[in-house]
């Protein structure tokens, strides 16, 4: 008996040791989260392949990233994301070991160590006026044994030492009133040529001594035809420019300081059309390329000094800069599209007719056309030249081509996500075979046995590795079907390049991608941009045979009155179902809470003239819409003039060429903030699809507070005009923030509060009946977070039981925005250590689980903070009852617990937005954070109370049950035996003892 109990106890002890984890253990990284690193669209690329060591390419991108990529696999060696206003203007490699970047419109010059990315020096260049910024790193020019970098920035030419970043000399051109276009350093010369224009027709050249910046010569000459400020350098004493009408090319030679112009009409060269030409930036000696009416024309300057056309290319083309080969030749690459194929040709600079390399590659047609190409050469084993080409595509992806194939590709379009939505995966259709189940069962058991070994500390290192691999790859999570918990979904993301990607939430892989035709550059739509994604159709009734689809909204041009484009994309197949070029503009899109019989959601598109357009344009939608016509309100925020306006629908549009799906609107109300003292800096409303579970909150003294829950609340923060700038620009006396809570149906201001001595930027999140916002307190010189909770006072009387009995309660009164709400607000403020880029809140399926705030810090981490810390009812000494309710004693600052960083030890560089999506499991919410990097994880704000964690050891449970059964059996046998023995003993005692005692004892033995 005793041994059995002991066995039982040990087993219980083992079970109890497998407790639930609160936050992440290091070996759980990658189990339910993934992190992807990107760089963005490449602007400049410099190869570094001379050394025998690691071959790499250093790139700078439009996301202000500089990165060193492995040439073999395209992985990132190191990467730096510069500040958001620190755009990179130029990049090169100096001394073979430093990467030099020029950024911030030429004011910051930095050197980075090539192998590890450590910043070596930083130099700030001063100047008097903004100008073109140019970076020139000569390879063979020494000044006092020091390699010099020439930077033209802010109207000055600077010579900077490449060793320590000291400015050796500076020559100011601002006084010369010349707009410098190009800086040339002729090979084997210590004179720098600075070329520029004065006014529209004067061409200037300055000869500067490289050693000390002395102006040797200054020549200028006027060309009667005038210039547009574009030049292409042909050789060290010749440039080609365009005249003011863009119809003729002007060859400018400045040999020995003698400037001469030689114009040539483009129409003469081409014998055909006329049009406006544009010089393409390229640096190939003896060549000029221009673009004219979608034709790319390559011209050569002959030995006699004449321009001649060598090739006219009608397809999309990209031309690389020239590189010099070891044989002294120059080579450059030309990428040309033909159908779904691209042709890469590498040509020697002096000889157009022969190609050094000619390759054709079949490309995925979702990548669009080539935008940029960079080449690099290497010596093959047979001593011929081989070339590799780095191509930047229209969708911002990066490809490395070598020997006729794509060595690697990077989907760097994902670094610039504009909007995200989710889609369910298909329902699992066919059954699973028995053999597969058996196999799976075996694998499953094997896996769990391994895990058990790990739990009991019996695993050897190999097993540990196997366990980790098993956990990470788990085929369950990357399946392409729906799961019961709703963890597997598709993230549909729209990138700035106009490409849609579907990412699987399980492992982050790209399921499909689609370059939207409607968001591609075309003649009718020269600069399209995507704006938003909406869920268009979510089939529930026909989930088996109908696919969900999303609505992509974009516009042609940056201004909001540009015509809109919409397109509808099937989320399972990634095919565009339909696309429309709209006649009206798109100012706002309002998804309505109605669906038609095919479960298409009704959307209202508001244009710049305040007309509302209903989509889909079908009669059924119209009839549904007319039923709810009088209940539709919307508002618009004009932050320039500090006005918020509310609108309602009026009638069908009047006028010609309008259909019945267009409606006029009327202005209902407007809130005009005084422009001289308030400026709108933030407006936030509740998420439209948020679910609230409880209307009331029971507080400590058994009292009930009713939350004021309305979907029509808008949080507005205004700031004093002086405090609109950065921290440090205004004194506490002249800066304040005023926050408002406004009902968007009636325009009624429900709450107004002023924070004196505070400054923006304001980041806020609105959920249920509370709003949390973050701002800067200038007096304390710390960041602050405040919470406002809104409670409905009109329903507070309902607590009285007599009113219920007498039927005098107001619960049956419909809640309407037009009834005067009696609201009370409670608020409280706390210090917060970090500056913030974004605040979001967790959302769960039913809204039962307590909420966590997700704070995207400026350090690009995401911190989860319990809403309980931002509770206006916190006090310094909470009563016992309040403590039981879960109220935390008040502290002046919010705690930052390192374990509650949901991004653990990774950064989501350039964080822009945090999106939460509820899973089907109530306890769990899915989190997707994007910036330059992508990060996805699963969160359980109140822990996973409704399911077992993935760490749960089923094998242990099974073994425990088996052991328990065994223990029961053994105990039974033991007790049987004992009973028998006792019986025998009693039998022998029976002779001695009296009968009554036996009667007493026997029932006891049973």
């Amino acid at each position: 008996m005793g041994t059995a109990v002991r066995i039982f106890l040990i087993l219980l002890a083992i079970i109890s040791s497998a407790t639930v984890a609160f936050s992440l253990y290091e070996d759980q990284v990658g189990l339910m989260d993934w992190h992807q690193r990107y760089i963005g669209k490449v602007k400049h690329a410099v190869f570094h392949t001379q050394k025998t060591g690691r071959k790499r390419v250093v790139v700078s991108t439009e996301e202000n990233v500089i990165a060193s990529l492995d040439l073999r696999h395209g992985e990132i060696f190191w990467r730096h994301v510069l500040g958001s206003n620190d755009a990179i203007d130029g990049m090169d490699i100096a001394l073979g070991k430093y990467v030099i970047t020029l950024s911030s419109e030429g004011s910051t010059l930095r050197a980075w160590n090539l192998p590890d990315g450590q910043m070596v020096w930083e130099s700030i260049l001063h100047g008097s006026k903004p100008s073109k910024s140019l970076l020139l790193v000569p390879t063979n020019l020494k000044v006092d044994k020091d390699s010099v970098i020439f930077v033209f920035a802010k109207g000055c030419l600077h010579a900077v030492s490449s060793i320590d970043g000291d400015v050796l000399w500076k020559k100011d051109f601002a006084t010369e009133s010349s707009e410098v276009q190009q800086v040339i350093q002729p090979p084997d010369s210590d004179v720098i040529y600075v070329l520029g224009f004065v006014g529209s027709s004067q061409f200037d050249i300055y000869y500067i001594k490289a050693k000390d910046g002395e102006l040797l010569k200054h020549r200028s000459s006027t060309f009667s035809g005038g210039f547009v400020r574009e030049i292409s350098v042909v050789s060290s004493d010749m440039v080609v420019a365009l005249d003011a009408t863009r119809t003729s090319l002007v060859k400018v030679t400045f040999h020995d300081g003698e400037i001469s112009f030689q114009p040539t009409f483009i129409s003469e060269l081409l014998e055909t059309s006329s049009g406006k030409a544009v010089i393409l930036p390229s640096a190939v000696t003896g060549m000029v390329s221009i673009k004219l009416n979608f034709l790319t024309i390559v011209l050569r300057v002959t030995d006699e000094g004449k321009l001649e056309v060598v090739e006219k290319i009608s397809d999309a083309t990209a031309i690389s800069d020239a590189i010099s080969l070891s044989t002294g030749q120059q080579a450059f690459a030309l990428v040309q599209h033909e159908g779904s194929k691209i042709h890469v040709r590498v040509k020697a600079g002096h000889d157009w007719n022969s190609d050094l390399l000619r390759e054709s590659i079949h490309l995925d047609n979702q990548r669009g056309i080539a935008h940029k190409v960079f080449i690099n050469n290497y010596i093959r084993t047979d001593r011929t030249h081989g070339f590799r080409a780095l191509i930047v595509m229209e969708d911002h992806s990066l490809l490395l081509l070598q020997q006729g194939e794509i060595v690697w590709s990077r989907e760097d379009g994902l670094a610039s996500i504009i909007d995200v939505t989710t889609s369910e995966l298909p329902v699992e259709k066919q059954g699973v075979s028995v053999a597969k189940v058996e196999h799976n069962l075996f694998e499953w058991l094997k896996g769990h046995m391994l895990k058990l070994k790990g739990t009991l500390m019996l695993a050897n290192p190999e097993d540990v590795v196997a366990i980790q691999a098993l956990r990470l790859k788990s085929s369950e999570k990357s399946k392409m079907t729906r799961d019961h918990n709703g963890f597997r979904k598709l993230l549909i993301v729209l990138t700035r390049a106009g490409k849609l990607f579907a990412l699987h939430t399980g492992d982050g892989r790209v399921v499909w991608s689609l370059l939207l035709l409607s968001l591609r550059q075309s003649e009718s739509c020269p600069c399209p941009i995507g704006i938003n994604l909406y869920q268009w159709q979510i089939p529930h009734q026909h989930a088996m045979d109908e696919n969900p689809s999303v609505l992509v909204v974009g516009r042609c041009g940056l201004s909001s009155d540009a015509p809109g484009v919409v397109s509808f994309v099937d989320t399972y197949t990634g095919k565009e179902i339909n696309s429309l070029a709209l006649v009206h503009s798109i100012e706002q899109v309002i998804p309505l809470p109605f669906t038609d019989s095919t479960e298409q959601r009704l959307h209202l598109l508001i244009d710049a003239n305040n007309h509302a357009h209903l989509y889909p344009k079908i009669p059924e939608a119209s009839s549904i819409f007319h039923r709810e016509f009088s209940n539709i309100y919307y508002y618009s925020v004009d932050s320039d003039n500090s006005i918020i306006r509310g609108y309602a629908l009026k009638s069908n549009c009047a006028g010609e060429d309008v259909d019945e799906y267009c409606f006029d609107t009327r202005e209902l109300w407007s809130v005009v903030f005084p422009v001289e003292s308030e400026k709108i800096i933030a407006t936030v409303r509740r998420k439209l699809n948020e679910v609230v579970h409880t209307q009331a909150k029971v507080i400590a003294d058994q009292d009930v507070m009713y939350k004021y829950i309305s979907k029509n609340l808008l949080f507005v923060a205004t700031v004093s005009p002086k405090a609109i700038g950065q921290i440090g620009s205004a004194s506490p006396e002249e800066s304040w923030i005023i926050v408002y809570i406004i009902d968007t149906v009636t325009g009624r201001i429900l709450h107004r509060m002023t924070h004196h001595g505070s400054q923006g930027p304001v980041h806020a999140v609105f959920s249920e009946n509370w709003v949390v916002y973050h701002y800067f307190n200038l007096r304390a010189h710390r960041y602050e977070m405040s919470v406002i909770e809104i409670y409905d006072q009109s329903r507070a009387d309902n607590k009285d039981i007599w009113k219920f009995v007498l039927g005098k309660h107001n619960l049956t009164v419909p809640i309407s925005s037009y009834s005067q709400p009696e609201v009370v607000t409670k608020s409280q403020s706390y210090f917060f250590s970090h500056s913030v880029k974004e605040i979001a809140v967790t959302s769960t399926a039913m809204g039962i689980t307590s909420k966590q705030l997700l704070i995207g810090t400026s350090g690009d981490q995401v911190l989860a903070l319990d809403k309980r810390f931002l509770d206006p009812r916190r006090s310094l000494n909470p009563s016992q009852a309040e403590k039981e309710e879960g109220i935390i004693p008040l502290t002046d600052s919010l705690p930052i617990i390192p374990q509650s960083y949901v991004t653990h030890s990774v950064k989501v560089e350039g964080l822009r937005s945090i999106i939460t999506v509820p899973a089907k499991l109530e306890s769990t919410t899915l989190l997707f954070a994007h910036g330059v990097d992508l990060f996805f994880t699963r969160l359980a704000p109140s822990r996973t109370y409704d399911s077992l964690t993935e760490d749960f050891s089923y094998a242990l449970l099974l073994i425990t049950i088996v052991a328990l059964v065994a223990a029961i059996y053994v105990t039974w046998i033991l007790s049987e035996r004992k009973e028998l023995r006792e019986k025998w003993r009693f039998n022998s005692r029976k002779k001695i003892l009296s009968a009554p005692l036996l009667i007493f004892c026997l029932p006891n033995l049973r």
Partner: protein, 208 residues
């Protein structure tokens, strides 16, 4: 003589370093040729705490320094120094981003009246800084540490407490029963039989 000569540069270097440390506050702000001042500072991660946390991610090259919440972002030089240029006079905020460490934001006052005079204070604990050397307040551990298998943790857990209780019941209750006088027991049992209500004490001995 030779050793003395050789040590001279070292002494000179030490002297220079000493000077720097003394006058670094004065150096911290200097008027640039532009329209503002320059804030120079240094980030130092002490070796003692840097050892465990300075993993793959905590390298000095990945540290960023931010002025006024992202207006300017700069990086550290190999020796840990950083500088912000063209900063107007006024009160500013400097933050340091380093994975694995918690740095307090620093309030920096650039004086307009005394050009180049800079005062710095940590905002977390309002401690003034004599020179702009920023050190982490603490190391940040992002992961829970797996507790090694120990008996105490089992005993403390609810399961352990339950087991403990059961142990008491299983081992101590029979002992308690043994201590009861047989006579008294009999009397109790008699009483119970009279009442006709089965009770726990009458059931328990049966089990053993």
């Amino acid at each position: 003589m030779a050793p003395i000569i050789r040590s001279k540069p070292a002494i000179a270097l030490l002297f220079v370093q000493f000077c720097f440390s003394v006058i670094s506050l004065a150096l911290a702000g200097s008027s640039g040729s532009g329209n503002g001042f320059t804030i120079n500072g240094r980030v130092r991660i002490p070796q003692s705490i840097g050892v465990s946390g300075l993993g793959q991610s905590g390298k000095l090259s990945n540290v960023k320094v931010r002025l006024n919440g992202g207006q300017n972002v700069t990086f550290l030089r190999p020796d840990g120094y950083f500088s912000f240029h063209n900063v107007p006079a006024g009160t500013h905020l400097i933050e340091v981003d380093a994975i694995g460490f918690f740095f307090s934001p620093v309030r920096v006052d650039v004086s307009a009246r005394h050009p180049g005079k800079i005062q710095a204070a940590l905002t977390e604990n309002r401690r003034g800084l004599a020179e702009l050397v920023l050190e982490p307040l603490r190391e940040e551990q992002y992961y829970e540490i797996r507790e090694p298998f120990s008996i105490m943790s089992i005993v403390k857990s609810p399961m352990g407490l339950m087991v403990g209780f059961m142990v008491i019941v299983v081992f101590l209750m029979p002992k308690l029963m043994e201590n009861i006088d047989p006579e008294e027991m009999r009397r109790a049992q008699e009483e119970m039989r009279n009442q006709g209500v089965p009770s726990l004490s009458s059931l328990l001995p049966r089990a053993s």
